[in-house]
C-alpha cells in the first residue's frame, strides 16, 4: 500500500554508520499478515491469554470504534486513529485533496493553534474568498494570454486582488499559534507524531506517556469536531514540495506513478495519492472543508490504543470527549469499477537514473477467496533468499540486483494489482529480467508448488505475527487497519487459516487465470542523462 505522510520522519541521513543500526531485512509483504494457531504460538494469539482475548472492543453511539490492548511493560501508550477515507474518495480535478486535508488537520482548531479565533475567523473567510477568486482569474488570464493580447484592465484587477491577498495573509498570520497542536504533544513527551494518507485510509499516529491520554483525547476530539483551515496556501506549497520530492525527482516515484496510471483507466487507484501537480495547485479551502465534512464523521474512525492503559478508564475518557460528536450521514458510495483490461499495456518513463522495471496484473480486492492465494504467491516468489524469483534472478541467474513483489497495490479495498518490480544487474536489460520473471509465472501455472514451500510460508507468517505483537504502535496499527479495511480486526486471525489452507491446485488455477498477457501492465524506467537545460520549475505556482 502506498502512502504519503505529513512529516518526513524518515529523512534522517546516516552520515555515520554506527552501532545500533541492526537493519532487519523487512519482509516485502506489508499487507499480508496472519495470526498463528500452530504449535505453542496458538497460545500467544488465540489461546486463553492470546490476542483474541486481549483485544477490548468498544463502539460509541456515533459509530466510532475503539480497540484496546493492555501492555504494562513501560508507562507508555501508542495510538493509531484510522479513517476510512483516502485518495479513492476524490473527484476529478481535485486529486490530492485527501492528503492535503491530512496536512491541514495539523493546523489546529477553534482553540488550539490560534491566539484569537473570533478575530481570526473573518480574516480567514475573506482570505479564502479572495484567494479562490484570484486563482480562478489568474488561470483564466493565463489561458487567454496565450492567443490574445494582454487585457490591461484584467491585469490590474488581478494585481489588486493579489495585493489584498497578501495583506490578508499577513493579517491572518498574526493570530496563528504556529504548530501548537504538535507542540502540545511534544511538550508532554509525545513521540512519533505523524499522519499518512493512502488510497483507502488516512491515519493519525502518536505515542505518549500513558498518563497523558486525556491530552490526546482533548486534542483529537477537538480536531475531529472543529478543525480550522489556517495557513492553507502555504501548506499547499509544502505539499507541492512533497510531490516534487517523492514523485518528480524520484526514479521510483516516477516509475510507479506512470505504471499505476497506465494500469487503471477508470478507478481512482490509478491516480497518485499526492495528486497531480495542476490539481494540487488548484485545490481550494472550500473543497477541503467540504471533504472533511463529508468523510471525517466519527463512524469512519477506528482508534487502536495499545499500552499501559486501564480500558475502563479509557472508555470513560473517550465517551466524555469523542462521544459528544454527533454521528454523520454516510458518505457517497464509490461506484466506479475498473473494467477488465483487454490487452497488454506497456509504458516507458525517461529519467536520469539506471533502468528498472514494474509488472502488474489486475486481481480482486481483500476478502475475495483468490486474494489469499496471491498472498501465498507473493511470499513464494520474493520473500527471503530461498524464494523463487530471488534465487532464480538474483542468486543464480545474476540478472537482477533485487526483486520485489506486492500482493495488493496500491490499495486493498478495491480490486487492485499484483506487482513485481526489479532492478537489472548490468549488463542485463529490463527485457531480460522481464522474460525471466514471466517464465517463473508460467512455471506456477505448469508445476504444482511443493508442500515444503507452503509449509515454510505458513511458518514465516506465524512467526511474523508474533513479532508484530512486540510493538505497541505496530499492534495499534494492525488492529485499526483491519477493522477499517475488512470491517473486523479478527480478519488477521481468519486470514491466517485461509492462507494455510491454500493448495498447490489453487495456486495453479489463480496463476493461470490472472497472469495473462492481456491482464498485464509493464512499465520500464529508461535512463536519460541530464540535459543542459534550465528546469522550468513551478510555472503555475501563482500564489506564494
Amino acid at each position: 500500500m502506498k502512502t504519503t505522510s505529513t512529516f518526513d520522519s524518515g529523512a534522517a541521513e546516516l552520515i555515520k554508520m554506527k552501532i545500533g543500526t541492526l537493519l532487519r531485512a523487512s519482509r516485502v509483504t506489508t499487507f499480508l499478515l496472519a495470526l498463528a494457531f500452530s504449535l505453542d504460538l496458538s497460545l500467544v494469539l488465540a489461546g486463553p491469554s492470546g490476542l483474541a482475548d486481549r483485544v477490548i472492543e468498544h463502539k460509541l453511539a456515533n459509530g466510532m470504534t475503539v480497540l484496546m490492548v493492555e501492555r504494562h511493560q513501560a508507562p507508555v501508550v501508542s495510538i493509531n486513529m484510522t479513517f476510512g477515507v483516502g485518495g479513492v474518495n476524490e473527484q476529478v480535478g481535485q486529486t490530492g485533496l485527501a492528503h492535503l486535508y491530512e496536512h491541514m488537520a495539523f493546523k489546529g482548531t477553534r482553540t488550539v493553534g490560534t491566539k484569537n479565533y473570533e478575530k481570526e475567523k473573518p480574516i480567514l473567510d475573506e482570505l479564502h474568498r479572495v484567494g479562490t477568486e484570484l486563482e480562478q482569474r489568474q488561470r483564466e488570464f493565463a489561458k487567454r494570454s496565450e492567443d490574445m493580447p494582454v487585457d490591461a484592465n484584467e491585469k490590474t484587477a488581478i494585481e489588486k486582488l493579489q495585493k489584498r491577498f497578501k495583506e490578508l495573509q499577513d493579517q491572518a498570520l498574526q493570530y496563528v499559534a504556529g504548530n501548537e497542536m504538535a507542540l502540545l504533544y511534544q511538550r508532554h513527551g509525545g513521540v512519533g507524531l505523524n499522519a499518512s494518507t493512502g488510497k483507502d485510509l488516512t491515519r493519525y499516529v502518536i505515542s505518549l506517556p500513558s498518563n497523558r491520554l486525556p491530552l490526546w483525547a482533548a486534542i483529537e476530539s477537538d480536531r475531529m469536531a472543529n478543525p480550522v483551515l489556517r495557513e492553507f496556501y502555504k501548506e499547499r506549497g509544502v505539499v507541492m514540495e512533497e510531490r516534487r520530492l517523492r514523485n518528480d525527482d524520484s526514479a521510483n516515484g516516477l516509475l510507479f506513478e506512470t505504471f499505476t496510471s497506465a494500469a487503471f483507466r477508470a478507478h481512482q487507484y490509478g491516480v497518485p495519492t499526492i495528486g497531480w501537480e495542476s490539481d494540487i495547485l488548484s485545490l481550494t479551502p472550500a473543497a477541503t472543508e467540504a471533504f472533511f465534512k463529508t468523510y471525517y464523521g466519527p463512524g469512519r474512525a477506528t482508534i487502536g490504543i495499545v499500552g499501559d492503559i486501564d480500558p475502563k478508564q479509557v472508555i470513560t475518557l473517550i465517551e466524555n470527549t469523542f462521544g459528544k460528536i454527533p454521528a454523520a450521514p454516510p458518505p457517497p458510495q464509490i461506484v466506479t469499477v475498473e473494467p477488465p483490461q483487454r490487452g497488454e499495456r506497456r509504458v516507458e518513463v525517461e529519467f536520469d537514473a539506471e533502468h528498472s522495471l514494474a509488472i502488474g496484473f489486475h486481481k480482486p480486492a481483500l476478502g475475495h477467496p483468490d486474494d489469499y492465494v496471491f498472498d501465498v504467491i507473493d511470499e513464494l516468489l520474493t520473500d527471503g533468499p530461498t524464494s523463487r524469483l530471488y534465487s532464480k534472478l538474483v542468486r543464480d541467474g545474476r540478472l537482477a540486483a533485487s526483486v520485489h513483489s506486492d500482493a495488493s497495490y496500491p490499495g486493498v479495498r478495491s480490486a487492485n494489482l499484483f506487482v513485481l518490480s526489479a532492478t537489472p544487474l548490468a549488463p542485463h536489460t529490463t527485457a531480460e529480467v522481464e522474460a525471466a520473471i514471466l517464465a517463473e509465472l508460467e512455471r506456477l501455472k505448469m508445476e504444482p508448488v511443493s508442500p515444503k514451500e507452503l509449509e515454510r510460508i505458513v511458518n514465516n507468517l506465524d512467526a511474523d505475527m508474533v513479532r508484530a505483537l512486540r510493538s505497541n504502535s505496530g499492534l495499534a496499527s494492525q488492529l485499526a487497519l483491519y477493522q477499517t479495511v475488512a470491517g473486523d480486526w479478527r480478519y488477521v486471525l481468519k486470514s491466517r487459516d485461509k492462507i494455510a489452507a491454500v493448495s498447490p491446485a489453487d495456486i495453479q488455477r489463480v496463476a493461470t487465470q490472472y497472469f495473462t498477457k492481456s491482464n498485464r501492465t509493464v512499465a520500464t524506467l529508461i535512463k536519460k542523462p541530464a540535459e543542459k537545460q534550465l528546469a522550468t520549475a513551478a510555472p503555475r505556482e501563482v500564489i506564494r
Binding site: K18, Q73, G190, N211, P214, L215, K234, G384, N459
Partner: protein, 476 residues
C-alpha cells in the same frame, strides 16, 4: 546510534496511572497538567566470559521470542585505502556465504524453514549481527548464528554475488539526488579519503578477493571485541550456560583499537559546491564539522540545535521555512555526533529551484539568530519538557534498554550517561545555549552543497561564497 539530538536517546520517568478521565477530558489541552511518575526500567545482567566476551541479559516473557545482538569491534574504518568496501562485503557474506559446517544453501534453507532472522553487516565504526527467533527454536538459531560469526565459509559464489550487487549499487549511486547531496556534503567536510566519508568504487570492489574477506574476518572478529545482548523469553541461568557452551572455547585475539584521525583544518571560509542533475528541486545541505559527544558543550549545543531545527514541528527552521513560507516539505537541522570522530552539524531542505536562495538565506538568518540572541523562555521550557517527558521512550522495551547499555559500553561512556545528560538538560540556561551556539555555529565557514539544474544553480548560489561544480564520475 547517537544522532546528536539528545532527543533520540532521551527520557525520564514521569508517570502516573491513567489520570482520572472525567474532569481532565473537559479541560483545555493547552493548560492540562499531569503528575510525573517515576519509572525504573529493569536493569539487565552484565557478565564477562573468560575470553572477554561481554554479555547483557534481560528476560521478558510476554512473547515466545528471543532476540540476540552482537556488536563487534570492527568496521569500514579498517579498510585498506585500495580496498574500500572490504568490511561491508565481509559483513554481508558472513551472513550469506555459509559457515559453521553448513553450506550457504543449507543455512538459507534452515533459516527460512524455521522463520529465523539473522542479519550481519559492518558499518564504518562497528559490526552488527543479530538473531531473532521463536524461543522454541533458539538453540537451533544460535548454533547457526555462532557458526556464521565464528567460522564463516565465504563461499566463492556468494562472494562474487555480493561483489556484483555492490557494484550495481555503486552504478546506481547517482540516481537519487538526496543520496548524492548527503555523500558529497560529507566528503567536502572530511575530505574524500577520510574513513568517515570515503566511498567504495567499482575498481576498489573489483579488486577485493575471497581471501581478503577471510583475512579481514580473522583479523578483526574476536570474542574480546564483541558485546552480546540477549532479550526475550529465556531463563538467565540457562541462557548463560548455552552461551558459554557456544562461545566459551573461542580464543581471544588482538582487537583493533578504534581510532579515527581528525579531518584536516578547513580553509576558514565558506565554500559552495553544486552537482548538476536535472531535478525540479534543489537538494541542499549547509553546515560544518562539529564537536564530539564527550565534549562538555554537547548538551547546550544539542539543545541549541533542537530549537533551531532538530525538533521537527517545534523548531524554528520548520516553522519559518515550511510552515510560514511553504518552501519545503522536509526541512531541519541535525547535530550528528559520536565519540570516535568529529561530529557534523548541518541544515537541510529540498526546495523548488526558484526558492533556492530564499531557503539558504533563511538558514543563515536563523543560524545567526541562534548565535546572537538568547532563545526565549518558552523555547527553552518546551525543549526541556519535550526531553524530560519523552525520556521514557528510550527505555520502553527490553531490547531498547539493552541496546542503550551496549552502545554506551562500545563507546566507552558511563552507563548512566543518559541520566547525566538529562540532569544537565534540566539545569541548562538560555545563556549556556547562546554561548554554545556562538562558539560552535560558524557562519563564516559554512560548506554549502546543492544538487540541481547546473545551468541555473551557479547564479543562484553566487551570493553565498565561492561556487564550484563537483563533477560526478559517471559510475555506470
Amino acid at each position: 546510534m547517537k544522532q546528536g539530538c539528545v532527543f533520540a536517546i532521551a527520557l525520564v520517568l514521569l508517570f502516573a496511572t491513567v489520570a482520572s478521565a472525567g474532569d481532565a477530558a473537559l479541560s483545555d489541552p493547552r493548560t492540562m497538567k499531569f503528575s510525573p511518575v517515576e519509572f525504573s526500567p529493569p536493569e539487565p545482567a552484565r557478565l564477562v566470559l573468560e575470553n572477554g566476551l561481554v554479555v547483557y541479559l534481560l528476560e521478558d516473557h510476554e512473547l515466545p521470542l528471543v532476540s540476540l545482538s552482537a556488536t563487534i569491534r570492527t568496521g569500514g574504518w579498517l579498510d585498506p585505502q585500495d580496498k574500500i568496501g572490504l568490511a561491508g562485503l565481509t559483513g554481508s557474506v558472513m551472513r550469506t556465504g555459509g559457515g559453521g559446517g553448513l553450506t550457504a544453501a543449507q543455512v538459507d534453507d534452515e533459516l527460512e524453514q524455521f522463520a529465523i532472522d539473522i542479519n550481519m553487516s559492518m558499518g564504518r565504526q562497528s559490526g552488527a549481527s543479530s538473531l531473532d527467533v521463536l524461543s522454541k527454536d533458539f538453540a537451533r538459531g544460535l548454533r547457526i548464528f555462532a557458526g556464521l560469526l565464528r567460522q564463516p565459509a565465504f563461499e566463492s559464489a556468494r562472494v562474487e554475488l555480493a561483489k556484483l550487487q555492490t557494484i550495481e549499487g555503486i552504478r546506481r549511486r547517482q540516481d537519487n539526488p538526496g543520496s548524492i547531496v548527503s555523500r558529497e556534503f560529507v566528503k567536502q567536510l572530511y575530505g574524500p579519503e577520510h574513513p568517515t566519508a570515503r566511498e567504495s568504487t567499482i575498481e576498489s570492489v573489483k579488486g577485493i578477493t575471497r581471501d581478503d574477506l577471510i583475512a579481514f574476518h580473522q583479523r578483526t572478529v574476536y570474542p574480546n571485541g564483541i558485546i552480546l545482548g540477549v532479550t526475550g523469553d529465556f531463563k538467565t541461568e540457562e541462557m548463560l550456560a548455552l552461551l558459554r557452551a557456544t562461545f566459551g572455547d573461542w580464543k581471544k585475539g588482538e582487537v583493533p583499537e578504534l581510532k579515527i584521525a581528525d579531518a584536516p583544518e578547513t580553509a576558514g571560509r565558506s565554500i559552495v559546491r553544486f552537482v548538476n542533475k536535472e531535478t525540479s528541486q534543489t537538494h541542499l545541505r549547509v553546515g560544518h564539522l562539529s564537536i564530539k559527544e564527550q565534549d562538555p558543550d554537547y548538551v547546550p549545543l544539542a539543545i541549541a540545535n533542537d530549537i533551531l531545527g532538530g525538533s521537527s514541528f517545534r523548531s524554528r527552521l520548520f516553522n519559518d521555512v515550511r510552515t510560514k513560507r511553504g518552501l519545503a516539505y522536509s526541512v531541519g537541522s541535525r547535530l550528528n555526533v559520536g565519540v570516535h570522530d568529529q561530529g557534523v552539524w548541518l541544515m537541510r531542505a529540498e526546495t523548488k529551484l526558484p526558492s533556492t536562495q530564499e531557503v539558504i538565506s533563511r538558514f543563515v538568518v536563523n543560524m545567526e539568530r541562534m548565535r546572537t540572541e538568547l532563545v526565549t523562555d518558552e523555547e527553552l521550557a518546551e525543549a526541556k519538557e519535550a526531553y524530560v517527558n519523552s525520556f521514557v521512550f528510550s527505555f520502553a522495551s527490553p531490547s531498547a534498554i539493552v541496546g542503550r547499555f551496549i552502545e554506551l559500553e562500545y563507546d566507552g561512556l558511563p552507563k548512566d550517561f543518559l541520566q547525566q545528560l538529562r540532569a544537565r538538560v534540566i539545569a541548562l540556561t538560555k545563556e549556556d545555549i547562546l554561548a554554545a551556539a556562538k562558539k560552535h555555529f560558524h557562519s563564516d565557514r559554512l560548506t554549502i552543497v546543492a544538487v540541481g539544474p547546473g545551468e541555473a544553480l551557479p547564479k543562484l548560489l553566487s551570493g553565498f561564497g565561492d561556487v564550484k561544480e563537483i563533477k560526478l564520475a559517471p559510475e555506470g
